[in-house]
């Protein structure tokens, strides 16, 4: 495992390596230069700690051990709690379909604590609320104490607003950004030494897939980037979703950097992938973990008008390069990580992976990624085939789900 860099070190190096004209240069050459790192893949049939903990320990060992990454450090973990906590896919618990499972978060926190992490901060921007993440979890029927008690000094912060700081942190996109030159984020994303993204293995209606990188879309505080954001200054509490980023129907609060080109496309399938890559460059991911033990097909949440199903692929992945980890996850889902717009799962959108590779964040080329542990072919769960069959059938009627 690479020695963990601080964000400032990373920015310094990357900014030097990525001059302003970088994005205009040959994408073929850049893809060949994009960094790579091993990705660990493992099977776990259940979330039972007795099964999951050794699996995750082994994965981290295969990556070189957590200690080198987290010892003595403050670790921030972005989890995925997308959508309202009162919205389930049928009767299934949210953590079995579209929320990062608390046992995965707890196991990661436990192992990080064991590896010497000084402080572990679990972050999310819950839907349209400034309430503590703990309260949001309880509404979802998830026990936050399972996570808080997993290691010493574990805490939550709701990053959908200013939170515990006096001001927002300005996070600069080193290559200048596709969409945004910089973001104003909750302090938690700057005030950490190590940043981990623990995502769910899912398709996504707008971005094709949502994995470790797309999980970071939720870093943006809706007080600035949401439909109810203040015009001049951030609102005090978040209201609504991120339609300003999705649709470009307004700019962020004027206190934050606006998008680079107000004449750029207003289509969410163009805007969301670029914003995600900008965010992942502004706040580099040191550790990507993708929970595919239980999840759903058809989209990122039960509100998607597809024939969504709860499934149990029984797979979990981790890596220190988020692009490469997402690429392996795509392959596990039966998709080609080299796919471009027009090819599943990017039939109607740009590929986050291609954009990230072009920006120099990492390679998506499986030939350049070393997979450790379970082989992709053994871990494969055929999201791609289910997607094809689903798309060839009639769309289901909308039910009343909440």
């Amino acid at each position: 495992m690479d020695r963990c860099q601080t964000r400032r070190e990373w920015l310094k190096k990357t900014a030097a390596a990525l001059p302003g004209a970088y994005l205009a240069a040959s994408s073929v050459g850049r893809a060949a230069e994009a960094p790579t790192a091993p990705v660990a893949v493992a099977r776990s049939k259940t979330y039972e700690p007795s099964e999951l903990m050794p699996v995750m320990q082994k994965m981290f060992d295969q990556l070189g051990g957590l200690e080198r990454l987290v010892k003595g450090k403050t670790v921030a973990i972005k989890i995925n709690l997308t959508g309202s906590p009162t919205y389930r896919l049928g009767y299934l618990p949210l953590e079995d379909t579209h929320y990062t499972h608390p046992h995965v978060v707890a196991a990661a926190a436990h192992l990080m604590g064991k590896a010497g992490a000084r402080r572990i901060r679990v972050l999310e921007s819950p839907w349209s609320t400034a309430e503590p993440v703990e309260e949001y979890l309880l509404r979802a029927n998830i026990e936050p104490r399972d996570i808080l008690g997993a290691a010493p000094a574990v805490e939550f912060e709701n990053t959908n607003f200013l939170g515990r700081a006096k001001k927002y942190s300005r996070m600069v996109v080193p290559y200048g950004g596709y969409m945004f030159p910089a973001f104003d984020l909750n302090h938690s994303y700057e005030d950490c030494d190590v940043f981990a993204s623990i995502a769910k293995l899912k398709e996504h209606a707008t971005a094709g897939i949502t994995l470790a990188m797309k999980n970071c879309f939720g870093m943006t505080p809706c007080t600035i980037y949401g439909s109810g954001a203040g015009v001049d200054e951030p609102s005090l509490v978040p209201r609504g979703g991120r339609s300003p980023i999705h649709e470009g129907n307004r700019q962020p609060s004027k206190s934050a950097p606006p998008e680079k080109d107000p004449d750029s496309p207003r289509e969410d399938t163009w805007r969301v992938p670029r914003t995600v890559v900008d965010l992942c460059a502004a706040r580099p991911i040191h550790l990507a973990i993708i929970d595919g033990i239980k999840t759903m097909t058809g989209g990122e949440g039960p509100w998607i008008r597809e024939d969504c199903k709860g499934v149990a692929p029984g797979v979990i992945m981790a890596g220190t390069n988020a692009v490469s980890t997402d690429a392996v996850a795509m392959a596990v889902m039966g998709f080609d990580p080299m796919a471009d717009r027009g090819t599943p799962p990017f039939e109607e959108c740009d590929s986050i992976l291609k954009l990230a590779e072009t920006a120099g964040l990492g390679t998506r080329d499986l030939k350049r990624i070393e997979v450790r542990g379970t082989a992709i072919a053994e871990a494969r769960f055929d999201f791609a085939g289910m997607r094809e069959r689903r798309r060839n059938g009639p769309r289901p009627p909308m039910g009343l789900r909440g």
């Binding site: 919205y87 009767y91 515990r164 009343l400 789900r401």
Partner: protein, 415 residues
């Protein structure tokens, strides 16, 4: 005064023969306009054993509250868009809080709700079911008031109108058959203490309304009932929190009772008008709008500023109490409401579930906290809904409902 089942006689029913529509139903009280043109109807109703009243001379023992038409509030200008509350959650009008408050204020009276259907809206049977359940679940009775199109359609024996009428009569019959439920005790997590009058009327009423919207199950305590407790020798015994938001300090006796509750481990959520709070500042992360003090085994959360917005106070209260202690949690229910009551000696309970959308949910789950081991779901038409799955959880039941209408009663037992 028994609750009764009142109907406002529709203007479209000129002929007393329309009384035949009421035969075999639970409707036993008629509110009929004054005037000679209704004499024949009044006379026929009297002969049929129905009690008749004029709108302005309702019987003694009945308190009538002016209610809202219950349901998801729609935006003006049509397009079918629901109006959102400050968090984007659909705004729901319900009379439940008002019925409960009236019952506390007038404990010997039946509570009737006067709420006419919205004009120029074609209502389905489900809307009437919601109107009936939104009153009856909370121990009141809606004065059945038919929209003009329905009344005219019934007079003309139109099948669609008669089908809606069947929904109405099934619903009122169901609640008439379960009138003992109205005597059950309220299960709550919080107690709201106020006199609910004078300068405390607006804030106190809105707080009750909005606490219900925030999913906080509460008991209503007047200051008199706190100072002179009747229902329990120890006020607030089963509660986790007490909310006191009146504009003046409590009396010495009320203060004593509430602080005793805090010392036993309860949480007091209050306002600066309370006066000096005992105890010591609590450790931990500060709340943006409340100062937290520890006192005895409990805590006191006092607002830094006098509250201006009952919505904010209701939501702050939900968070200060913590969703850990939610008595009812819904999934996939849409705009929901619930009222949780306990029968004699706490051996059985009924959780009334209300779904305020245009139709009931197709895959809702609900978690009910409590010691119960068994649950039976019933609707106004089906005494035991088939296909209900019950999962035992730690100190709770999770119930998976198949497609159900806008009202479900969960009968809980085995505690």
């Amino acid at each position: 005064m028994p609750l009764g089942t009142p109907l406002r006689w529709p203007n479209a029913w000129k002929d007393p023969s329309a009384l035949g529509l009421l035969k075999g139903t639970a409707i036993d009280h008629l509110v009929i306009e004054q005037g000679a043109e209704w004499d024949a109807v009044r006379s026929a109703a009297d002969k049929a054993g129905l009690q008749t009243f004029a709108a302005d001379s309702l019987p003694a023992g009945v308190s009538v509250i002016k209610g809202e038409w219950p349901g998801v509030k729609m935006m003006r200008g049509g397009r079918g868009a629901a109006m959102g509350g400050p968090t984007g959650v659909p705004w729901v009008d319900s009379n439940g809080w008002n019925i409960r408050l009236s019952a506390i204020m007038h404990p010997h009276n039946a509570i009737w709700v006067d709420a006419a259907p919205p004009a120029d809206t074609r209502l389905a049977g489900g809307s009437y079911l919601t109107a009936i359940a939104d009153s009856s679940a909370y121990g009141g009775r809606w004065i059945i008031t038919l929209d003009d199109a329905l009344a005219e359609g019934m007079a003309a024996a139109k099948p669609a109108s008669l089908a809606t009428w069947k929904t109405i009569t099934s619903a009122v019959g169901f609640f008439a058959a379960h009138k003992a439920w109205a005597e059950y005790d309220t299960v709550g997590v919080a107690g709201v203490v106020s006199d609910f009058t004078g300068q405390n009327e607006f804030f106190g009423h809105e707080l009750l309304n909005l606490l219900a919207r925030a999913g906080v199950h509460y008991q209503i305590w007047t200051k008199d009932s706190v100072a002179n407790p009747l229902r329990s020798s120890v006020p607030f015994e089963s509660l986790r929190a007490v909310i006191y938001a009146d504009a003046e300090p409590p009396t010495a006796e009320v203060r004593k009772q509430i602080l005793a509750f805090v010392q036993r481990g309860g949480l007091l959520i209050t306002v600066p008008q309370w006066g000096d709070a005992p105890g010591t500042p609590a450790k931990g992360e500060p709340h943006p709008r409340y100062g937290i003090r520890e006192f005895g085994k409990g805590r006191i959360a006092m607002a830094h500023e006098p509250p201006g917005d009952p919505y904010e106070m209701a939501n702050d209260a939900a968070e200060l109490i913590s969703h850990r202690y939610d008595l009812v949690r819904f999934w996939n229910g849409g705009a929901t409401g619930s009222y949780y009551t306990e029968g004699p000696e706490g051996k059985i309970a009924v959780a009334h579930l209300l779904f305020y959308s245009n139709r009931g949910p197709d895959a809702a789950s609900v978690r009910i906290a409590g010691p119960w081991r068994r649950a039976r779901a019933c609707t106004v038409d089906v005494p035991s809904v088939p296909g209900v799955e019950v999962q035992l959880q730690k100190e709770a039941l999770e119930i998976h409902l198949p497609r159900v209408p806008q009202y479900v009663a969960l009968e809980l037992s085995g505690g």
